[in-house]
């Protein structure tokens, strides 16, 4: 610890910490904008480029950025001098002078860090107005809108894309006033190896990056008398949706969500968790088969479309090792448009399947060519958690006051194993619950595999199943996935099963979730909500879900059957690594 004097007050600061951190200890908030940190994921974005956080340091000729200047012994810092105020206001003035200020019609209205900063600093006029940089808007994909006219060049998206996810498509391009973040040659995202994980959207402080909003399409479908519109909701949605209605983070809102969806007009309110149980049946069988035969190991999970696209581009030589099982979203769509459509006597083209997902890559996934039967998409419209909240607000539904509802049958029943898909480690745990019983023929005494849970980037566990020591690994965040994949490619890693989720922490931190602005404690609470829901379930293993059993009896036969393969399994394609 070293003493640092800030505004005349002495504070003992940790060596290597920043002026910003030291000031916080004294209860002084220095405004920041480009700075972004998430210790739990090792993210420290200290670019020091927006210059909002500048402070006066005695003995230095220029103002210093508090977010990235390390404290030094006996340093004298002033955060509130006239010189600092003047600089800070001017910098904000400049940023606003180049910002569209269309707050009322912006996705990020009331969620925008620049808006909050302007409010906090109380700037009342722009002293330096002028031309605004004009950039074309990239609308040419299913998932993400990039409107760089709103960009403040904090480069968080670049950091998320390159350092956290190692997808590596975003970087600074062009110079001076026209400098912006874009893929090489300013290609649209659709022409790159972008996986649409949406982590860039999740960290963007302003409205430059957004999901492609499909709420209007949902309204149109719901009001189309010729259509039967059903909805599925992913496990992580219920753990975060409440945040959009000022419920405290970690409040599980499954029942209210179901009621709200019914009020919106969906004819069937179903659960992606049902399909998650189905995924476990298929993927679990594949795991058991491959472990028993001891070949083509490890098996990698394939629920996450961002991860699937990632390995298609970056590890095309390994496309034979992920499970061929479709993701729960697509399994749901396939079953809905075949088994369910037939059951209710509706033609697949007149059945509209809407997904509510914590994810932006799911929008892309649903549009993939292979996920359609006779030209009809299995999943028609995908909206994010944030979009669902918008619809609920627009419909005037007082969410917090809603009573709990229950999912419809038959595609609404699920086990606890399916719920935990929403957290990193959950898919693997769910698979283990089923695989262990399949392999040993004995009921599990302890269904909680604590060893595979957590938010950390890479976890390993060895689980005894009968005589077998099953070696498993879990990675969340594609940068961590890359480490595992490279170890496998180099023949240095020997696992039976690996779960990978593209977003750090899993789906609960997906690119379509309510914004957390770097507050990891919110993720921890969402995670807890998911596991609490699992504990509270009567059925906690996928193969014990009675509706799943009936589905196999009535329609699919058994896991891995020909019908199952046709409807529930898929192929992967090598894609260019550019």
């Amino acid at each position: 610890m070293i003493p640092v004097i800030i505004n005349g007050m002495t504070v003992q600061a940790r060596e290597g910490s920043t002026i910003l951190e030291a000031a916080r200890q004294l209860g002084i908030r220095i405004p920041t904008l480009c700075n972004f940190e998430m210790d739990a994921f090792g993210i420290k974005h200290r670019l020091g480029s927006c210059r909002i956080c500048v402070v006066e340091v005695q003995g230095r000729p220029n103002l210093a950025p508090a977010c990235s200047t390390p404290v030094m012994l006996g340093m004298h810092v002033y955060t509130n001098t006239m010189r600092v105020f003047n600089a800070r206001r001017t910098v904000l003035d400049l940023i606003l002078s180049n910002h569209p200020k269309e707050c009322l019609t912006c996705h990020k209205n009331l969620h925008c860090e620049l808006q909050a900063l302007a409010e906090e600093m109380g700037l009342l006029e722009i002293k330096y107005p002028g031309e605004k940089a004009q950039h074309p808007i990239d609308l040419a994909n299913e998932s993400i809108v990039r409107d760089m006219n709103k960009c403040i060049y904090c480069r968080r998206c670049e950091m998320a894309c390159n350092e956290v996810q190692t997808v590596g498509i975003l970087s600074g391009v062009d110079r001076g006033f026209m400098a912006t973040v874009a893929p090489t040659s300013k290609r649209p995202l659709a022409e790159t190896k972008c996986v649409f994980c949406g982590q860039c959207v999740a960290v963007c402080p302003v409205g430059a990056l957004n999901e492609v909003d499909r709420t209007y399409d949902v309204w149109v479908a719901l009001n189309d008398k010729s259509k039967t519109v059903i909805v599925q909701t992913a496990p992580a949605v219920r753990a975060a949706l409440g945040e959009e209605f000022n419920l405290s983070p970690g409040t599980s809102v499954t029942g209210k969500m179901v009621t709200a969806l019914r009020m919106l007009g969906f004819k069937g309110v179903f659960d992606t968790d049902f399909a998650a149980d189905l995924t476990i049946m298929e993927e679990g069988k594949e795991l058991v088969d491959r472990v028993r035969a001891n070949r083509n190991l490890p098996i990698l999970t394939s629920c996450c479309p961002g991860w699937v696209k990632f390995f298609e581009h970056q590890f095309p030589d390994l496309i034979h090792i992920p499970s061929s099982a479709k993701s729960p979203q697509q399994m749901f769509g396939a079953i809905a448009k075949s088994y369910y459509a037939k059951k209710i006597g509706v033609a697949p083209k007149d059945l509209v399947v809407v997904s509510v997902m914590p994810c932006l890559a799911k929008k892309y996934e649903a549009a993939r060519e292979e996920f359609r039967q006779d030209g009809v998409r299995d999943v028609d419209i995908v909206i994010s958690t944030r979009e669902l909240a918008r619809m609920i607000k627009e419909a005037g539904i007082q969410f917090a006051q809603l009573r709990n509802g229950n999912f419809d049958h038959p595609l609404g029943e699920s086990s606890g194993a399916a719920v935990i898909f929403g957290a990193s480690g959950g898919v693997l745990e769910a698979a283990l619950r089923t695989a262990a019983e399949t392999m040993t023929g004995q009921p599990l005494e302890q269904v909680d595999f604590e060893a595979v849970r957590g938010l950390s980037g890479i976890r390993e566990a060895t689980i005894s199943i009968g005589t077998l020591d099953l070696k498993a690994a879990i990675a969340s965040g594609l940068g961590n996935a890359r480490k595992l994949l490279e170890a496998i490619r180099a023949g240095k890693a020997h696992y039976h099963a690996i779960e990978i989720m593209a977003c750090p922490g899993g789906c609960l931190n997906g690119g379509g979730q309510p914004y957390i602005h770097g507050d990891v404690s919110i993720l921890e609470k969402r995670r807890q909500a998911i596991y609490d829901e699992d504990y509270g379930k009567a059925i906690r293993k996928s193969h014990e879900n009675p509706y799943i059993r009936r589905l196999y009896e009535e329609f699919l036969g058994c896991p891995g059957s020909e019908t199952a393969h046709r409807l529930l399994h898929t192929h992967y394609y090598g894609r260019p690594n550019t």
Binding site: C50, V54, N62, N86, L94, S97, Y153, G172, D174, F177
Partner: protein, 614 residues
């Protein structure tokens, strides 16, 4: 293969002996980029042909050299006549003049332009002896063939490196450079010895010496001249730096727009490797050093050392915060010394001649010389090297021979887009790093642009800001947006659209940009604005309040009118590009202001002072 210092000495002696026995007359042909562009190639061919035709092979040796610094007289040729003990320097040579030029022994014929020797003093003993220029850095530039290692060795080349690695400890070399007082010639003026000592004291498995050859100031070409004219001196300087700090690898970061310099560097590196002057175990000392070349893509900001390092690593050339300083964590996170070309070219001489000798030039605070690229409205545009402490008046009026066309001197801009302007009343200040800073300018890398009464100082500030605007990496807000706003305000000022409070806002914003920008480029970018505002405040006031531009550069603020002195000669009407002047012969003409584009041609053409610029 040179394996020891003794080998080198023997080799140097052999070359000198061969020279003594060789042709007694040398014809030096300036073949730098600028010379070639001015048409030296056909002159060189004519010389070779004439020499061959006249059978002068044994009497005359033709050398292609680097830049002699005589931009105003390219193509320039020097004839060193050992037989008659005479040297002639010719400028603006054409191939037709070559036969006369090669009449060795005869007095120069009248058709040839003989360049005044006072302007240009190539001097083997490197002493100024009261002459205006002192050639330390440019000692070989224009004097040797840069593509021949022998020429460099003849001029004591690689003796300093041999001396350092054989007879000195690394810390002694650092100390010697520190003693010499050499300061970074790239612009900042940071003491080179100090920079080296930082890197030398850090323990690391690998260190780097990076030569910054990303010269990018508008109108600056000092480093190009050194690289094209004397590449080995830079290589030798780098190797000495490597020995001093404990580095075995050097990187030259050179802009790809310097193809000739690149080619000559490659040639030089290849020659040095083959001769054993680069590579493993130099002079039997156990110390090894090698150099590679990396291209820059022409970004001005890559002259900033952290941006340069990122560029070498293959990343976007953007500055990052210091600390960590490159001396601690630079290229590939290893301790790195980044020195400018001119700094490194000084090193061999310092090692060879000693710190005290070097301190014999310049001022106590800024020893040595500085190379300046003299440009703008000056009679003798060119490259000059002068001891620090010389006054600007001497440079502009003695060496540069004053202002073109007898116009009045107005200001000189030093330090390029990061510097400021210096007014006539400040011309007698002896210039070094510190005095220039006190004048609100800076040394910069050595660009020196002279302006006369026809230059509008608001427009000058706008010009430099436009450059910065293009060259800013855009990383930090004040530089990315602030400079754009400054530029817009200056544009409005020049267009007569300035708001009444614009001057105060220009100053406030300039000061904030200086105070908050991340790197040196941003921190100095408003300097041209602040300097011109301070020193030519009246011009700014005229633009803002009177909507007037006294130099007539800001066309939106200028009106032309014909007064009663008009005799009706019709010259103006005939020259007007938009035919907006009407009038009968011998009668007073009138300008149609609605059609006038304010080009000023009529104003320049009129012989009767009959056109007013208001």
């Amino acid at each position: 293969m040179i394996r020891t210092w003794e080998d080198l000495k023997r080799e140097t002696e052999r070359i000198r002996e061969a020279r003594r026995r060789g042709p007694p007359v040398q014809v030096l042909v300036s073949m730098g980029t600028c010379g070639i562009a001015a048409g030296t190639q056909p002159v060189l061919e004519a010389i070779r042909k004439t020499v061959a035709d006249r059978g002068l092979d044994r009497q005359v040796e033709v050398l292609q050299t680097g830049c002699m610094g005589l931009c105003h007289s390219e193509p320039s040729i020097e004839v060193l006549d050992r037989v008659n003990g005479r040297d002639y320097l010719y400028g603006l040579v054409t191939p037709q003049q070559v036969p006369a030029l090669l009449d060795i022994g005869a007095e120069p014929s009248k058709g040839l332009l003989s360049v005044p020797r006072s302007w240009y003093y190539p001097d083997d003993d490197e002493q100024s002896n009261g002459r205006p220029q002192a050639r330390l850095v440019l000692r070989n530039s224009g004097r040797i063939d840069p593509e021949r290692l022998d020429d460099y060795l003849e001029k004591d080349g690689y003796q300093a490196l041999a001396k350092a690695v054989v007879s000195m400890k690394p810390e002694e070399v650092v100390e010697l450079v520190a003693q010499s007082g050499l300061r970074g010639r790239g612009g900042g003026g940071f003491p080179t010895g100090k920079k080296w000592s930082f890197a030398a004291t850090v323990e690391a498995p690998e260190k780097f010496v990076v030569c910054n050859a990303d010269e990018g100031d508008p109108g600056a070409f000092m480093d190009r001249a050194v690289l094209e004219g004397d590449p080995h001196s830079v290589l030798e300087g780098m190797a000495i730096a490597g020995y001093a700090i404990g580095s075995r690898r050097g990187v030259i970061y050179i802009r790809a727009e310097y193809p000739l310099a690149v080619r000559r560097l490659f040639t030089a590196i290849d020659q040095a490797r083959k001769a054993g002057l680069l590579g493993r175990d130099l002079f039997g000392s156990g110390f090894g050093f090698d150099i590679e070349i990396k291209y820059g893509a022409g970004a001005f900001v890559c002259g900033e050392e952290t941006a340069l390092i990122h560029s070498v690593e293959g990343y976007r050339g953007e500055p990052t915060l210091k600390p960590p300083f490159p001396a601690v964590a630079g290229l590939w996170k290893r301790p790195t010394v980044v020195n400018n070309v001119e700094t490194l070219a000084n090193v061999p001489t310092i090692v060879r001649r000693g710190a005290a000798w070097f301190r014999g030039f310049g001022t106590p605070g800024s020893p040595g010389t500085k190379v300046f690229a003299l440009a703008g409205k000056i009679n003798k545009v060119g490259l000059v090297e002068v001891p620090m402490g010389m006054t600007l008046r001497q440079i502009v009026f003695d060496i540069g021979q004053g202002i073109k066309g007898g116009r009045r001197f107005k200001a000189v801009q030093t330090g390029g887009p990061s510097g400021g302007c210096i007014r006539e009343d400040e011309l007698d200040t002896p210039i070094d790093y510190d005095t220039l800073r006190n004048l609100g300018s800076m040394m910069g890398s050595g660009g020196m642009i002279v302006m006369d009464e026809d230059d509008c100082m608001v427009n000058v500030a706008k010009f430099f800001l436009e450059f910065t605007l293009d060259e800013s990496c855009g990383k930090c807000t004040p530089c990315r947006i602030g400079n754009k706003r400054l530029f817009e305000m200056l544009s409005r000022t020049c267009e007569g659209k300035a708001e009444p409070d614009i001057l105060q806002r220009l100053e406030t914003l300039s000061l904030v940009i200086k105070d908050t920008s991340l790197c040196g480029l941003g921190q100095t970018s408003p300097n041209p604005v602040l300097a011109t505002m301070r020193k030519f405040a009246d011009e700014y006031c005229e633009h803002v309040h009177d909507r007037r531009c006294r130099s007539g550069v800001c066309t939106a603020l200028v009106r032309y009118a014909i007064n009663e002195r008009c005799v009706g000669c019709t010259l103006c009407a005939r020259n007007c590009p938009v035919s907006c002047i009407a009038g009968e012969r011998k009668k007073r003409h009138v300008i149609d202001e609605a059609k006038c584009i304010r080009c000023g041609v009529c104003f320049q053409k009129c012989k009767f002072h009959a056109i007013d610029r208001v």
